[in-house]
C-alpha cells in the first residue's frame, strides 16, 4: 500500500508532547485499519438492513414452507409436502392464470404506449418538454390505494362513471367485478394509468443516450422519422427496454393492492376468485388463514421462482426480438 508510515505527514494539529513516538505508532495503526476496513463499514448499513429485512425473511419463509405451520400455535416439519400440494391446488392455478392475464393486459399495451410517448417526448420540436415530462410522471406519485379507490368508484355497477357513460350509448351496465374479462380490464387500467408515465421516463432516458449524430447521418441518407425509429431508436434502446420489461414483470407478478381494493378488501378477489392474484392467494393462505402459514410460505417461494423464470424468459425474448 502507498500509505506507509514514512509518507504519512505528522498531524499539524497534534501538540508536541513527550510521548510522540508511541502516538505516531498508534496513528499509523489506525491509519492502516482505516484504509483496510473502513470501506466495509461504509457499506455495512446496507448489508445489515438487507440481511434483516431481505435475506432473513426469505430464509425464514423457506424454513416455514417446509412446515405445517400455525401462526399462533404449533408447527411440525413436513418436508416438501406444501410444494407438492401446490400442483394439485386448483385455486393456486386459478390465481396464476389471473396474474398472467392481468399482467399481459397491463404490461403489453402499457409498454407500447410508453414507447410511443417516449418517442414523442424525444422529438426536438416539442415545446414545454419539461412540463410534459413531469406531467406524465404525476400518476406514479399518487398513492396506489388512492388510485385503486378512485378507479373502484369509476367501475362501480350502480353509481359508476363508466356504466353511466355506457348507458349514454345504450349499452347495458357491466358488473365489472362479476366476470373475469371485465375485472381484469378494470384492474389493468389502474396499473396502466399508474405506470405508463414511469416507464415512459425510463425509456426517454434511454433514448436521450442515443448519439444524435446517428440520426443526423440517417437523415442525410434520406431516412424518415419512422425508419429512424425502427432502425436506430429501437435497436439502441434494447438494454433499457429489457430493464423496463423485467421491472414490469416483477411488479406484475406481485400485483396485490389494486385487485384487493377493487374487491372491497376481500382477499378472494370476486365471488368466484375471478381476479385473485398470486400475491392475494399467498396472503389468504399465509396470513388470513392462521393455520396454513406454511403453505402460504410455499406460495411465496413459488411466486419468487415464477418471477425468476418469467423475467429470464422476457429477458431472452426482448434480446432476441430486438436484434
Amino acid at each position: 500500500m502507498s500509505l506507509s508510515a514514512t509518507t504519512a505527514p505528522p498531524s499539524p494539529a497534534a501538540p508536541p508532547s513527550p510521548d510522540l513516538p508511541s502516538r505516531q505508532r498508534r496513528g499509523r495503526l489506525l491509519n492502516h485499519l482505516d484504509v483496510k476496513y473502513s470501506p466495509y463499514l461504509y457499506i455495512a448499513p446496507f448489508f445489515l438492513i438487507f440481511g434483516a429485512f431481505g435475506l432473513y425473511p426469505m430464509v425464514r419463509t423457506a424454513w416455514m414452507s417446509l412446515h405445517d405451520w400455525d401462526m399462533i400455535g404449533e408447527h411440525s416439519f413436513i418436508g416438501f409436502d406444501n410444494y407438492t400440494r401446490l400442483f394439485s391446488d386448483e385455486y393456486f392455478w386459478n390465481a396464476l392464470v389471473n396474474t398472467f392475464g392481468i399482467f399481459a393486459l397491463s404490461t403489453i399495451p402499457q409498454l407500447l404506449l410508453a414507447l410511443f410517448l417516449a418517442n414523442l417526448l424525444n422529438r426536438t420540436f416539442l415545446r414545454a418538454k419539461t412540463f410534459f415530462r413531469m406531467a406524465i410522471f404525476m400518476p406514479n406519485v399518487v398513492s396506489v390505494a388512492a388510485v385503486a379507490i378512485v378507479f373502484g368508484m369509476l367501475f362501480q355497477r350502480e353509481f359508476g362513471l363508466f356504466n353511466w357513460l355506457l348507458g349514454l350509448v345504450g349499452v347495458d351496465p357491466v358488473d365489472w367485478d362479476g366476470q373475469r374479462w371485465s375485472s381484469w380490464f378494470a384492474i389493468s387500467s389502474m396499473v396502466n394509468w399508474r405506470w405508463t408515465g414511469y416507464n415512459t421516463l425510463i425509456l426517454l432516458a434511454g433514448m436521450q443516450a442515443i448519439p444524435k449524430d446517428l440520426y443526423e447521418a440517417a437523415e442525410i441518407d434520406g431516412a424518415g422519422p419512422w425508419r429512424q425509429f425502427w432502425q436506430i431508436t429501437l435497436p439502441m434502446l434494447k438494454p433499457t427496454f429489457t430493464f423496463v420489461v423485467i421491472l414490469s414483470t416483477i411488479g406484475g407478478m406481485q400485483l396485490f393492492t389494486e385487485p384487493l381494493l377493487f374487491a372491497n378488501g376481500n382477499i378472494l378477489g370476486g365471488s368466484q376468485r375471478e381476479f385473485q392474484t398470486l400475491a392475494m392467494y399467498m396472503y389468504e393462505m399465509g396470513i388470513s388463514n392462521l393455520n396454513t402459514a406454511g403453505y402460504g410460505a410455499a406460495v411465496a417461494w413459488a411466486i419468487f421462482m415464477i418471477i425468476v423464470v418469467v423475467s429470464l424468459f422476457n429477458f431472452l425474448l426482448v434480446r432476441r426480438s430486438a436484434k
Binding site: N31, L41, I72, L268, Q272, N289
Partner: protein, 429 residues
Amino acid sequence: MSVTTRRTRLAAAALAAITAIGGLAACGNDDDKPAAGEKPAKLVVDTFGEFGYEDLVKQYEKDTGIKVELRKTAQLAEYRPKLVRYLATGKGAADVTALEEGILNEFKPNARNWADLNPLVADHSKEYLPWKWELGKAPDGRLIGLPTDVGSLAVCYRKDLFQAAGLPTERDQVSALWPDWKGFHDAGLKYKQGSGGKAFIDSITAVSNGVMFQGNGDLFYDKEDNIIADTSPAVKNAWDTATSMADISAKAQTWSPEWSGGFKQGTFAATFCPSWMLGIVSENSGAANKGKWDVASVPGGGGNWGGSWLAVPAQSKYPKEAAKLAEYLTNAKSQVEAFKAKGPLPTNLEALKNEAFIGYTNEYFSNAPTGKIFGESVAKIQPTHLGPKHQAVKENALEPALRAFESGQADKAKAWEQFTKDAKTQGAF
C-alpha cells in the same frame, strides 16, 4: 488528509455500525416482568368499531390512578391481522383485547395465547346470558373472555319508501307483515310491484345471516367441531331461504360502495339490523334521511349476529390489573353506559333489566324504542354453536357462493357445489 480527520471518520463509521447492530439486537429481548404486586402505570385497551368506552375509561383512571390508553380500529377486517401479528410475535398486544365471536372461536384451539380469567376475577357466571358466558370458555375450560355485547337481530326499513310502494309504515304493522320468512318474501314482492320493480333488501347474504343466527341447530360444525357444512339442515335452510330472495335483492355486497351508497340512494328499502348495525345504517344514510328509517322485528323470531368479549392476552405484563379493568368494563352499569353511548347491546342480565336501557329510544330511527325492541329479542336468542373457523367458512365459502348465484354467475346447483367444496378447505383447522 490529516490523521485526525481520518480517525474521526473511522470512529464515525464504527459508531454507525455499532448503532445499526445495537438497534437490531435491541429488538431481541425486553420482556422483563414487573415485580409482583407492582401497580402498572398504564393499561392498553384494543377495540374495533364502536364500544363506547371513552367515558368509562376516564372514570376508571380517576378511581384507580392507572392510566388507560384506548386504541380503536375502525373495522374488524383491519383489527384481526394486527392482533394475529401480536400473537404470532408475542409482542404488542393490548392488556385488554376485544374479541368478536368469529375471532374468539378461531383462537380457542390455541387458548394458551390468552390468560385464564377464572382465578383473576370474581365468579360472574350467573350474571350474564348463560350461553354468552359459556362461549367465552375454551375447550380446556380456560375462561378467555368476559361478555360485552350481543348482536340481537331486527329489520331496519325505510318508512318513506314503504309508503310510496303502498306498504304499511307503522312498526307493529310492519312486523306483522312478516311473521315468517315466507311473509318477508311476499312483502318484498309487494314492494317490488308497488315501487315499479325496485329491490327490497340489500343482498341475499344478509338474509342468510339472519336465518343462520336464529339458532335452528348446528351450522358449519357439530358440537365436537367436526365440519358438517354440507349436511347441516340449518345451513341448508339458510341457503334455501336466502336463494329464494334473489328476486327481491339489490345484489349490493355488504360493505361495498354499492351497499353504503345504497342507503342514501334508496336502492333497497330494508336490511337486517343487529343492534350494532344501527350506527352504520344512520352513518351511511346521512342526516338527510333522519327519521325515514324505523326498526321492526325480524321474521321467525330473534337471533344473534355478532357480539364480543374482552380478553387478556397471555403476553400482558399485568394480567391481574387487566382482568380487573375488563371486569369493570363489562359490569352492568358500564354495559348500560356503553349502550347509550354507541349502541352495543348488553349481555349482563342486570343491565338488560335497567330502566335506562329499556326506556331508551333512538332519535334517528323515528324514535324507535330500540332498548325495548332489542332487549326483548335478546331473551329469545337460542345459543348457536360456532366452530373454530366459522367466520372463514361463512365469509370465504358460503357468502361468495351465494353472491355467485345472486349475480347469475352460477346456477343453484353449481353454487352449492362451490360452497361445499370451499367449506371443506376453509373449515379445516
